[in-house]
Symmetry: C2
Subunit: 141 residues, 2 copies
Amino acid sequence: MQERTLEMLRSGNRRIGKARRQVVDVLAAQPGPITADGVIDLLPGVSASSVYRSLNVLEELGYVRHVHLAHGAALYELTDRLASVRHLVCEVCGNTIQIPAALLSSLSRRIERDYGFVLDSGHFALPGRCASCQRTEPGPH
Amino acid sequence: MQERTLEMLRSGNRRIGKARRQVVDVLAAQPGPITADGVIDLLPGVSASSVYRSLNVLEELGYVRHVHLAHGAALYELTDRLASVRHLVCEVCGNTIQIPAALLSSLSRRIERDYGFVLDSGHFALPGRCASCQRTEPGPH
DNA sequence: TCCGTTGTTGCAAGTCGTTCGCAATAAGAC
DNA sequence: GTCTTATTGCGAACGACTTGCAACAACGGA
């Protein structure tokens, strides 16, 4: 774990226990977003509640963010990774496609200008149907 | 209840029981989206499971749609009403703002063109901060 | 109008994702 | 090494739904 990360983790009366350290390692090793359950499965020696608590602490510290899907568990991803990326999630097959966050910027600007509302576009994934699930029957979602 | 609605409800081996009829009435009386729990509260004589089941059936029939928020319970709204409207939901105060669905159309087109992904923009609400909650501390969401 | 089929309802229990209370453990400052 | 207190694990609780099951009641037909 990098010194920079350790410093971040220790800021604000924080300590680094067994669970926290392992959760950080798992997150850092992911190429993309992962669910809390995914982390739990990768860390059989760590209790589920500790994983959830660690994820929350790491989020407070700005190390990760979570993204909601229309249904089911949230996805966690390193903050710096998420900064420039948004997610499309297929409602049929569940696959996620990453798109540049910039694609949403004109919509964001428009909404802020017209409604004074600041979009938090990193906080939700865009649901829909991917190319290969176009012809599939509609899901129960 | 209109004849047109009754017909729709009776299509596909459906019957109209006490709960279903009342749920339809409540939905029709709403000026905007409502949660399942909101419907349940308005119908003390109807069981929660019947409300959920009715909402699901009505959704299959195309009478309502549900919209997910980043957190908490989904919102239900008449399909024809939702057709032209999308929702902004403030993560701080919870208020929802309706915006024309058309605002999302260029984004939708772009995503479909570039990724073959068809956005289901009616299925999620856009989270963020409304004008009056701009300066509030970030929520735990 | 009564009948029978089968969709609908209510209740309680179950599921999924996540949070919480609590006592035991262990970081890290001194 | 000591001591304070953050962190952990466990199990119970939670919110939002879903489901199994037996009782009930629509509605098409006789």
